[in-house]
Symmetry: C2
Subunit: 139 residues, 2 copies
Amino acid sequence: MTTPVPLREPTFLILTALAPEPMHGYGIITEVAALSDGRLTLRPGTLYGALDRLTDEGLVEPDREEIVGGRLRRYYRLTDTGGTVLAAETERLRRNVEAASRRLRARAGSAAPGSAATARGSALRPALRPTLRPAGGPA
Amino acid sequence: MTTPVPLREPTFLILTALAPEPMHGYGIITEVAALSDGRLTLRPGTLYGALDRLTDEGLVEPDREEIVGGRLRRYYRLTDTGGTVLAAETERLRRNVEAASRRLRARAGSAAPGSAATARGSALRPALRPTLRPAGGPA
DNA sequence: CGTTATAGCTTGGTCACCGATATACTCGCC
DNA sequence: GGCGAGTATATCGGTGACCAAGCTATAACG
């Protein structure tokens, strides 16, 4: 187990959606869409796969079932462990964001003069690579 | 191509490391370790794979080569495109962090009473799943 | 009666990342 | 003078989270 700490974005947003109160799968999908301003659309394959995985890892657990308008709703709830992991992960992301912001600001000062063109470079790369290329033992 | 926007963490930190000024591969590894307070150690396989990929995507380009103490140093530079992508990605992360913080705060109020125990739940899951299971065509 | 929306779930493929391994040169140690 | 550690490059095989696409079922709208 050992909870693979660097959560990917969809997983992170699933936990985030569940943080305040239990939700059912379809609700999570719409909630994540709202949270990300519609920039990220959760796919069912991602959601239910993640839900099973997170349940195994103990970050999430089934809450209850309801029948609303003849349709089944299966609710999931964030566990205490899940809350702790989400908080830690949020802190890590916050540090990353700060580091990136700082360094992007520093960049503005030394900005590439020639605008660096459209970043081709493919012309010089082949000439660079062959420098090293020793045994190249196949197999 | 189309630049798969949700960057993973190692990729994000590579771009972050390169933001202020060009660096060579090994320098990026040590810099990323410093940026993350030693929590994330970039593996060579990840680094050079990512560098090639990012070069193809135009986010990064070779800068120059130096020989220091008989050892080759291959420097890479963040392109303008790369800077734009990193800035956008940073903004996205910032929003995610804010959303998660907000919702975690909301959670504190409705915190699970029984501490939700160590979040096992594996005992009740099997009882929940079989509810639906219609065609179940086993290939 | 077909389409859309809500709600659940499965299967198959891909690709970034990890872990291990390889080359090569320099320096300090014994 | 060989040996390991540190610097620096690169490749290869495996894994797993994610995506794309599809399936079943009910209720409401046309």
